[in-house]
Amino acid sequence: MSENGILIEGSRVTKRFGGITANDGVDFAVAEGDLVGLIGPNGSGKTTLINVLTGHLTPDGGKVILRGRQVSGKPAHIYAATGVARTFQSTQLFGRMTVLENLMVPGLTRPRSSAHEVARRARACLEFLNLAHLEQLYAKNLSGGQQKLLELGRCLMLDPAILFLDEPFAGVHPHLRDELIKRIEELHRAGRTFVVVDHDMESILRISRRLVVMARGRKIADGPPEAVRTDQAVLAAYAGL
Amino acid sequence: MRIVEGRHSAAACALLLSGLVIVPTLFLGGSPVRAAEPIKVGWVGPLSPPGGYAEGALMKDATQIAADEINAKGGVLGRKIEVSYQDTRGQPEEGTAAAQRLISQDHVVAITGEFHSSVFLAEMEVAHAAGIPIIAVDVWALKITAKGYPEVFRVAPNQALIASKYGEWLAASGFKNVAVLYEKTDGGQSARDVLLPVLEKHGVKYDVVGSDPNATEFTAQIERFKNHSPPYDFFMSIYSEAGAYPMISQAYTLGFAPTPHAGIANTGGPAVDPTFWKNVGEAGKYLVTEIVGLPKTAWNDKTKAFVAAFQKRFNQTPSPQAIENYDAMWVLADAIERAKSTDGKAIIAALEKTHWLGGRGLYTFSTSHTPDWAYHQFMEAPVALVQFDKVNQEPEDAPIIWPRDIADVKYLYKKPGE
């Protein structure tokens, strides 16, 4: 743990795809125990930033510092082993593996884990997510909302310090969405750090303690939700697009 | 697929799996051979790719003609002959399977056939282990007879008898600088291995190029030949696969060979196949190739009868390989008749004393081991080099240019325009 309580930090992150600069010198730090909402118009570079911060993309410029250690350029599983978990914009499960197996995978990647112990934890996790009755089903046969829950469960099995959730509420039935929010808040109270990306403003504002806004690959606002809501640059970004 | 629940289907599964292992044993043994039953003879050869299936098909047809003729004459030892044909796809492993099946499943008394030396080498191991005579029909590798297995006989000439003839003829014709293009098959390689030392011995310069047997595009290579300096005066192609035709056409249209400055030859068989002229047209004129049968002038009644029968039945001219297999079948029948038995040892003994006039001359098998490839080799296997001097000429009508004692033209090689 670094001294100032910063868990993960992207410093001057730049990422280009062909001629497009998706991230242009973005500084983004998350402190231990925070719950950050990351918003911005389509194509503003949110997902790219998450991909860089979780090791799925190597930045062209800048660096990623995780618990005081520079990790940019290292493969994604190193991040996962250091306590970074994430979900994907379009749910990415192990479709033709059972629900239980989906949770066993991250559990078993932990060093010195025993199959019995992991299975016990996985089942506990399924109880927590109300998915226990589905454990022998193929993941691809779950409904969209159940898949989001399962993906969250898969993150939890890593016992992560920080979770990046990429559009967790998109396409989820309102009832399940409330369920999801409840779980996130529960986990946050239990001490986990979150970064949540979504277009569902209402939900984001409901849960986040801090709001970061991106536009055109740059960070344009960062602060408490109330302050950011009235920020001129943010209003301009949303209105102008 | 829905799985039916219940104990019955579970038992069925167990049965199915154990069946995989047990079913084969049901094919055990087979019934003992009774006197009136036909004598079974095996045939092996390529009938599908990646093997040389075209030649294989011709050989199979010819074998059937011989078997039908033998049966029409009352068979052998008063019993009919029945041929079991096994496709080997040009793969040694399939050859082993085929030979093994013929011997232990079909209980054949002898085997003939095969077109690929590498496959035959695998097959003859099986025959050797079982003591079953096997007559090699169109495989030219020296190693086959050089191994000295008593079961193995060969009616085909071998590379020492074929490729060396090309070498001697090239030297005698005064060619000084030869481009050799061979296909990377067993036949191509062994021909190359025999040809090159002969050229070297006579001081003929050469360059040798290998090619994938599937290739059909030779333009770049032929242009490279054309630009070689000093220029080549002969294009020797060792190619038996389908690519031979585009190669000959391309050499002709690109003005490499045949020209007044460069001759061309192809060894391996395609130039005597039934669709040769259809494929190459003008380009085939002046091409030199070998026939591994008697020259037409030396044809005996059997040759003529076979060619006529084949043409009548299959509506095409038999290739020399076909007549080899026709004769092999007759040689075998003759040996069984003389052995008065279908026992392997007896047939082998009878084969060694073979003195039988077939469509390719008088068959005898050497029992000498010097040189090593001579053992059980038909030493007088006819090989003649011919040169087409007309478009659409039958190989048998083409003038013989080598060896000199049977040549029917004065020249050694006729250049275009001469």
Partner: protein, 301 residues
């Protein structure tokens, strides 16, 4: 080495490259719509060649109309085959669609190649030339058949490009290739376009077979080598890009020709020509895992 020699080899390479491209374009088209690699493409090409041959020899039809007959025939055959064999690609019960497509076309190739030996006989056949004779351009000699095949290849590819970009059906095809869901939403039935694309791909292969037959002769296993070359081209060109395939086809023809012409060890040059093509492919893939001009490969699921 003279410039003349280089020019001749380059010109020959270009002609053969266009012919390669014609085969590869069909593979590309099928890939971009059906998302499968058609391993039976070389055998459809073989069928097309034989079809043209028999139309010419049995009915006395001139070569060029025979080529169109062959294209129509293969178009129909391919649609039937697609309906019979490829429909599971669109069913959820098929668990691994990429692999299913690969394997079923593998099986189809196996069947076609072996039935062809029985149906057409084992010996190579050659239909009459489109235009007989040769053309001399200085030291460069090109047969009229090659020139014809090259130009007809260009015409057909241009026709395909025109069709893809300028006609309703072509644009619908393009729409399906980009997003099946979106296409379905705007009322295009992707199922029908799968059949259609497979048919057009096969018709192009048939045209290639008919055009090449007088140059290389027909044989039941003639599809083996072009098949591999087609994959090389399709990958180099970026799966699903018609224009990329044309460029890659010509590049492959050129590089193979020039490799044979200039590889320092003359005895091995021809033997390694085919290996050279795939080696280039492998190197490109190592550095660009999605091909040179590739869009990212998308799974069907």
């Amino acid at each position: 080495m003279s410039w003349d020699y280089l020019f001749i080899q380059a010109a020959n390479g270009a002609v053969i490259g266009i012919i390669y491209a014609l085969i590869a374009v069909g593979v590309t088209l099928i890939f971009s719509i059906l998302k499968i690699v058609n391993f039976a493409h070389g055998d459809l090409y073989m069928l097309g060649g034989y079809c043209a041959y028999y139309v010419i020899t049995l009915f006395g039809v001139p070569p060029l109309p025979a080529m169109f007959v062959s294209m129509a025939a293969l178009f129909t055959i391919a649609i039937i085959l697609e309906r019979l064999l490829l429909t599971p690609l669109y069913s959820d019960a098929t668990e691994r669609k990429d692999e299913y497509g690969l394997i079923v076309t593998f099986g189809l190739a196996f069947f076609l190649r072996n039935i062809a030996i029985i149906a057409f006989g084992p010996f190579p056949l050659k239909p009459p030339s489109f235009i007989s004779g040769v053309q001399h351009f200085g030291n460069l000699i090109v047969t009229n058949d090659r020139l014809f095949a090259g130009s007809a290849g260009i015409v057909l590819i241009l026709a395909l490009l025109y069709f893809m970009h300028r006609t309703i059906w072509g644009q619908a095809l393009d729409a399906v290739s980009q997003s099946r869901e979106a296409a379905a939403i705007v009322g295009i039935n992707p199922r029908r376009f799968n059949s259609f694309a497979f048919g057009v791909g096969a018709a192009l292969a048939a045209a290639a077979g008919a055009l090449i037959a007088p140059i290389f002769s027909l044989a039941p296993d003639m599809g083996v080598l072009p098949n591999i070359q087609a994959y090389v081209i399709v990958i180099l060109g970026g799966m699903g890009s018609v224009l990329g395939s044309i460029i890659a086809g010509i590049a492959l023809g050129e590089s193979e020709g020039l490799f044979t012409a200039f590889f320092p060890d003359p005895t091995r040059a021809l033997a390694y020509t085919n290996a050279f093509g795939v080696l280039v492919l492998m190197i490109v893939l190592i550095f660009r895992p999605n091909g040179l001009f590739g869009r990212r490969h998308l799974r069907m699921e």
